[in-house]
């Protein structure tokens, strides 16, 4: 090394040093710019969320100030309690309805989508490709195309204003994207494991339950998180099928609260925060499944 270094002409050595120094300056400058933009963007992105929290703890008078106070003069944590138990509103019941629907949908989605994914990934049978392509193609179909016949059907069999229209369809395959995602995951599991169990006389159902389900817990967790999130946030489905207040979900309840008492902004923001909180908790606990899931469903195609 040293000999080569020494043999370098002086001019080249100086220019090399200069080049290295310039790159160092460039890199520092670049880092400063990147951090600057990201900090500013993050601030703007989090602002609505922060403002929601700040507004939710202000008093009724303070929240109406213009120009507004940034830091609340008085932090009223009781707002959360008062908003949640607002007269004529039934947020506890609506929470229960939301959890109930999301929970039963979740079980149906995990169970049936992983069954179907196993069938598509591991068994050869005539018609498999047709049904798999049909499943994938159904993603392209706007739900509005099937919405009206389904609404009429559910109306005729007396399912309007029940949870059935929101729950039952999830037990039939649990969504094309979930089947696709799990099939991709199952396809990567080595066949040796399966063959060994097969030779021991295990049935396919047993193999699915004892080998594929435990081995694909990360993928199942990803599906679970996105399913729960979608149901927790869903507004369109409940709006169409649930008409009685006692059947409302949180999303519908919040909309009702707004239409009647929307002027009470501090309470509105308190409810918005309470509705967001579980999602934030799930996100921070299971962040890598969120990010991983988006990548899986987005890039693999």
């Amino acid at each position: 090394m040293t000999t080569i270094h020494q043999s370098l002409p002086i001019a080249t050595e100086q220019s090399a040093v200069r080049y290295a120094r310039r790159r160092q300056v460039d890199r520092t400058l670049q880092a400063v710019i990147v951090y600057g933009i990201l900090l500013a963007t993050s601030f703007i992105f989090l602002l609505p969320f922060v403002w929601m929290i700040l507004s939710s703890v202000k008093s009724a008078q303070e929240v109406a100030y213009f120009p507004p106070t940034i830091v609340p003069r008085q932090v009223l944590l009781s707002n959360f309690f008062d908003a949640w138990n607002y007269p004529n509103m039934q947020f506890s019941l609506w929470l229960w309805n939301t959890v109930y629907i999301s929970g039963i949908v979740l079980v149906g989605v995990l169970l049936t989508s992983s069954l179907c994914a196993y069938g598509f990934a591991r068994i050869e049978f005539p018609g498999r490709n047709f049904w798999f392509m049909a499943t994938i193609a159904s993603v392209m179909l706007p739900p509005q195309v099937t919405l009206i016949p389904l609404y009429v059907l559910f109306f005729k069999i007396g399912w309007l204003n029940t949870f059935h229209p929101l729950i039952i369809p999830a037990w039939f395959g649990g969504g094309a994207l979930n089947i696709f995602l799990l099939r991709q995951f199952f396809a990567q599991i080595p066949t040796e494991l399966e063959d060994a169990a097969y030779i021991d006389g295990a049935s396919r159902l047993r193999i699915w339950w004892r080998i594929f389900v435990p081995l694909s817990l990360p993928a199942l967790l990803t599906v679970a998180i996105f399913t729960f999130q979608a149901n927790w946030n869903d507004f369109y489905g409940p709006l169409i099928y649930l008409t009685g207040r006692e059947k409302y979900t949180l999303a519908l309840g919040m909309n009702l609260f707004n239409s009647q008492f929307g002027a009470q902004v501090h309470y509105m923001m308190a409810i918005a925060f309470l509705m967001t909180l579980p999602m934030i908790v799930i996100f921070f606990v299971a962040q890598r499944y969120f990010i991983g899931g988006i990548v899986l469903s987005g890039v693999n195609r």
Binding site: W51, G119, P142, G174, M254, T276
Partner: protein, 303 residues
Amino acid sequence: MAFAVKKRSALYWRDTFQGYFFIMPVVLGLILFVFGPMVVSLYFSFTEYSVLQSPVFIGLRNYQDMFNRPQLRVLQSLWVTMSFALTSVPLTMAAALGAAVLLNQKLRGMRIFRTMLYIPTIVPAVATVFVWGWLLNPEKGLVNATLQWIGLPKYSWLSEPSTALPTLIILSLWGIGGTMVIFLAGLQGVPEVLYEAGRLDGANAGRLFWHITLPQITPTVFFVLITGLIGTFQYFVPAFILTRGGPLYATYFYNLNLYEKAFRWQFMGLASAMAWLMFAIILVLTLILFRSSDAWVYYEVKK
């Protein structure tokens, strides 16, 4: 096959039986909740139907009405949706790609920034909408307070026909989280060797991005573009809750129009026809994009 009548083995029949046993949920689901309703929906689109009375066959009248009766506002709402799609989709894609490029720099703390930029995406749509309504409140909102503070005039934002749709387009920027993560994964899949080769040839950052990064991630761009366009036709919650389609129908999105035709006015036939028009438009757009993809989407392995 024609001559040799092959006797299927017991294994074949067992696999077939078991295969259909496993995929039974989705087979039934597709028949009951997709194919069946599609056929019925197509039939409804040729009828006048209000749920309580039986459907009356009226031929192509619904389809003609969509184009010939401006009071139904089908074309108007289609225009609102298309102008939103043509601005919001490219805007959010560019912003998401920009954010992903920044997050892809090898610097400390990038995961924290990724989390912060992703957070708006996990806030439930209903909650988001009310927070925006509050922020943009013309009299008491934080946005106008800030504008006043720095000496700019106040805006009416969502309550002014000319600014309502642009406001919603700007708000769509807060939803780039998912797209950003997809782009980030795409960027991380670009082989480092290509950049090294480019740098040796003396290319600057801009040229590296334009000639290496962008061509390499075109499959991701393609995917995001298609899902983005389809997603625009589902746009509902902000228009339904925040603006109710107004003011003066400035934010009367196609999906909102369809919802009102079906569930407010019980025009089930017309609403079905609207759904099929939506489907046709999505199909045509997707087809055009697929056809054009050979020209601009780069695939590692050519078929």
